[in-house]
Amino acid sequence: MISLYIKCLKNKSINRFAIIFRLLVIAVSLGFLNVYASESIDRRLQISLSIFPKIVAVDNGLREKLDKKNRVLLAFISEFDDGKARELAKAMRSKIKNIAGMSYRVEPVNLGDILAKDSFSPTAIFLTERLSSKRFNTVMDFAMRKKILVFSPFTGDVERGATVGIAITSRVKPYFNMRTLGASSISINALLIKMSKRYE
């Protein structure tokens, strides 16, 4: 597309100012979209931080998924932006004292590290950035193998296989992928499931 525009600019018969003006419009539009998207993602991440521990708490197999020190281990996974993962982990720590009366640990983890260390067994995974399909599937394979839930605050991730996310209408509700739940052999309190949004 860009090469096409460059060709057009070299062609003297075409109005260069019109092309430059269009490029500017496209650039500005893309910029606004990017800003709006990043703001929207930040809000979803902040809301998710308060819901995520509650979801982890209603996992009926929570006690079997604790680390060696009987702590809840929450893995905040990133692929490129590790700083964001750390920032979110820090925010989580400041908000939440315990989960289901148990101490917890938040560990920002790069995706590459998870793949390298198969021995890593967190209680639940929180995706801090939107992953590509391949990476997302790798994470989901890992989680299902470990029978742990994957929380993704990003729109559309529940539909593509994430265990749980959020649905925002007049209220914020948990949003469960029932197939993934079944495939991961994760049991969630039925009362909550009943009041949550479900993706069958």
């Binding site: 509650k54 209603v58 315990n98 289901a100 209408t169 007049s170 209220r171 009362l191 909550l192």
Partner: protein, 777 residues
């Protein structure tokens, strides 16, 4: 159904109903699929939002197991009042804890509508564990009241729509009713004066009023047109009646003219014929004192005949019955003929005539009779109204587009015409003014007839004139191509050769017929019931050497034709019993007689029929003697009448000799000098030449030399005319000629006897020797 839809009112009503139904369906669908779910979602959202701020407080109260606080919170929720419906917003609150405990608060108010339910999980603020579920029943009365309100409005809208529909229909009906009234009136109007459209009502629509007024105007115009048509019809009826009267009058006029011409011509025939005979008798008897009186009678008769002929011609032209007879005409000959006729008149007024006829004007294809009459009229007018002046006749021919036109300009230096006189110049029976008639005579028909002739021929006569200066009349006529292929150049170059061969044929023919004529006298059979028509021709044809036989009906005529086998037949049309047509048909149908010349001699103008049936000539009664003899001679010449050339510069002598010889049955050509004489010989090889010796230009002596040099011409016998004082000259040439006549001893008998003698000798022996008559005395 179609009839129902053809009414504008019904059509508009149905259109409105259709549109409104579509609108209502759209509204209902929008209500069901858009507005109602939105309202429901809105109410549900309100219920959810109502719970949200209390959730954390309730979770904290449960965490702290503070029942009082929990009850207070729940009571606060239950007490909330909707400002719109002034009723509690929450009907009941129920908390189901995970340990099975149930906490419930219910409002005393009940609602007939099913409430909206809002549910939310309760998590421990301390451990994030699930504490239970909070269920809230939200009062749906507001929502249902809104629904009911919307339904009421919809019903109201439908009612309003129906009312409007009825109103529109009635309004439309009222609006269009005047159109129906107008249609009814238009149908009943019959355009009579009293039957007009009524005035439109005051409250009708402007557009309909305009239509009404337009139709009123249309009716007005139609009535006016009807009136006009009626007037035109009446005028046409009057015109038709007048036309019928005019046709009847014209028919009566034609009948009158035909009768009168017959009645007038019959006595004129006698007057002219007998006066001519008496003139001859008087001349022979030497009673010259009677000659001028007889000439006056003859002239008066001829003038009267001319007048009658002119009136008849005019009548025929007006009736559109004048017919044209096209033939090839040698313009030079025609001009010469006209000049010959006009010259004596011109000389009488001491006028000079000049002719300009270019060489390229040779033969044209035209009705020569009409052209001759028109030219004669113009020329005779010119010489009549000019004294001591000059008359010019200029002929020219030119090509305009694809047509050839010939023009004859007759210009004089006479009295001329004023502007006023020019305007009435071509009107029948009108001359320049009455004084003109008194001074110059004439009927005033000549120019009218001439112009009519020229217009019949496709041309016209124009005139330019200036008072006391002179006039110029121009005849312009389209001319067709001659049927003969005689181009000018060919004629000039091959003249001698052409006439040489013609001469040979003529000499041979002449010889044969001459012998027959000696053996048998030519018989002319006249078939006419009028005894006078037989009497006069018998007398002057007898003098010309013909034997005349008369019969008075067709049956006798046919019998005589069979018994006598006449050389020429003179035939009248109106005969007792069978008509002349029967005789003509009989002659032309029998191979034995079909070559016998038939000359129609009648008062009936049926020239076309006569020629179509094979007549050779057509003469109208009363016919003058010369005309008849010439016609007969022409017919007989075809079988062998001899041609005699008279070469003399003296016109009177020429005329006298021509008359004498024509009376004897010869065909005479004339030349006024030797040069013209040679041309005449080349044109028509004569049997005899009467030659004057003293002439301007080429004289008789040189003429003889030229004749002698041509081997084909040297055998032509020549009789010379010499004056007494030129005896020496006579003696010098006497050996070269066949006879000599002294002009001083000139007499009819001598001329005839010498001519006959020479011609007889010519047929019996070569004319190279002198006889006893060839002496100069």
């Amino acid at each position: 159904m179609n009839r129902y839809f053809s009414h504008i009112t019904n059509r508009v009503t149905l259109n409105i109903i259709g549109v409104m139904l579509l609108v209502m369906v759209a509204i209902v669908m929008h209500w069901i699929y858009v507005l109602l779910p939105t309202f429901k979602d809105g109410e549900q959202t309100k219920a959810d939002l109502l719970v949200t701020p209390y959730t954390e407080l309730i979770e904290t109260a449960i965490d702290q197991k503070d029942r009082e606080k929990l009850d207070e919170l729940l009571n606060r929720l239950v007490l909330l009042i909707d400002p719109k419906i002034k009723k509690p917003m929450v009907l009941s609150i129920k908390i189901s804890l995970v340990n099975g405990e149930l906490i419930e608060k219910r409002n005393s108010v009940t609602s007939q509508y099913a409430p909206f339910t809002a549910e939310t999980p309760l998590f421990s603020q301390k451990t994030s564990e699930l504490l239970g579920v909070l269920q809230l029943e939200y009062n749906a009365e507001l929502f249902n009241s809104l629904i009911a309100d919307a339904e009421r409005r919809l019903v109201f809208a439908v009612i309003v729509f129906i009312v409007m529909l009825v109103f529109v229909q009635r309004h439309l009906f009222r609006l269009l009713q005047p159109l129906s009234d107008l249609a009814a009136q238009v149908e009943s109007v019959d355009f009579g004066e009293a039957n007009k459209l009524s005035k439109p009502k005051k409250d009708i629509a402007v557009e309909i009023r305009q239509v009404w007024q337009a139709i009123e105007k249309l009716f007005l115009r139609l009535r006016q047109r009807d009136d006009q048509v009626r007037l035109e019809h009446e005028a046409a009826q009057v015109a038709l009646a007048e036309k019928i009267k005019a046709v009847a009058a014209n028919k009566a006029k034609s009948q009158f003219l035909a009768n009168m011409s017959h009645e007038l011509r019959t006595p004129l025939n006698a007057i002219i014929g007998y006066s001519e005979m008496l003139i001859e008798e008087v001349a022979e008897l030497g009673e010259m004192q009677l000659d001028s009186d007889l000439e006056k009678i003859n002239l008066a008769g001829k003038n009267l005949l001319l007048l009658i002929s002119a009136v008849l011609d005019l009548s025929k032209i007006e009736a559109g019955k004048m017919q044209l007879y096209y033939e090839d005409v040698r313009v030079n000959s025609l001009i010469e003929e006209i000049i010959d006729i006009i010259t004596p008149l011109a000389e009488k007024n001491n006028n000079v005539i000049s002719v300009d006829c270019p060489e390229n004007v040779k033969i044209i294809h035209i009705d020569v009779m009409k052209l001759r009459q028109s030219l004669l009229n113009l020329m005779s007018n010119a010489v009549k109204f000019t004294e001591n002046g000059k008359i010019e006749l200029i002929v020219s021919q030119k090509t305009v587009g694809i047509n050839e036109w010939i023009s004859f300009e007759v210009q004089d230096t006479g009295i001329g015409l004023s502007e006023k006189q020019l305007n009435s110049l071509f009107i029948a029976f009108s001359q320049a003014d009455s004084s003109t008639t008194r001074l110059y005579g004439g009927t005033g028909l000549g120019l009218a007839i001439s112009r009519s002739y020229c217009r019949l021929l496709g041309g016209d006569i124009t005139v330019k004139s200036k008072k006391n200066v002179g006039s110029k009349f121009t005849i312009s006529l389209p001319v067709g191509r001659p049927t003969q292929s005689l181009s000018t150049q060919e004629t000039e170059q091959s003249r001698s050769l052409h006439f040489e061969s013609a001469r040979s044929a003529l000499v041979h023919s002449d010889a044969t017929v001459q012998s027959e004529r000696r053996a048998k006298q030519m018989i002319v059979l006249i078939i006419d019931d009028d005894p006078m028509a037989c009497d006069m021709p018998s007398r002057y044809l007898g003098k010309s050497g013909y034997k005349v036989v008369c019969v008075q009906n067709a049956a006798d005529g046919i019998a005589k034709i069979n018994s006598l086998k006449p050389d020429v037949i003179l035939l009248d049309i109106m005969l007792p019993g069978s008509s002349g047509w029967h005789v003509l048909t009989y002659v032309k149908e029998h191979s034995e007689f079909m070559h016998t010349p038939v000359i129609m001699l009648t008062m009936v103008d049926e020239k076309t029929t006569a020629y179509a049936l094979g007549a050779n000539h057509y003469l109208m009664k009363p016919v003058d003697k010369d005309q008849l003899v010439t016609a007969i001679n022409r017919c007989v010449r075809k079988g062998g009448i001899k041609t005699i050339l008279v070469v003399d510069d003296d016109q009177e002598t020429r005329k006298l000799l021509s008359t004498i010889l024509r009376n004897e049955g010869y065909y005479v050509t004339e030349a006024e000098n030797g040069h013209l004489g040679l041309i005449r010989v080349a044109e028509r090889n004569p049997a005899l030449i009467l030659l004057d010796l003293l002439m301007p230009g080429m004289d008789g002596r040189e003429f003889l030399t030229q004749i002698g040099q041509n081997p084909k011409w040297r055998t032509i016998p020549v009789i010379v005319l010499v004056a007494k004082e030129n005896t020496q000259d006579c003696n010098n040439i006497v050996n070269q000629v066949d006879g000599v006549i002294q002009k001083s001893e000139f007499s009819i008998g001598k001329v005839i006897s010498m001519v006959k003698s020479v011609l007889n000798n010519e047929n019996t022996q070569p004319v190279t020797k002198l006889d006893d008559k060839k002496e100069c005395k």
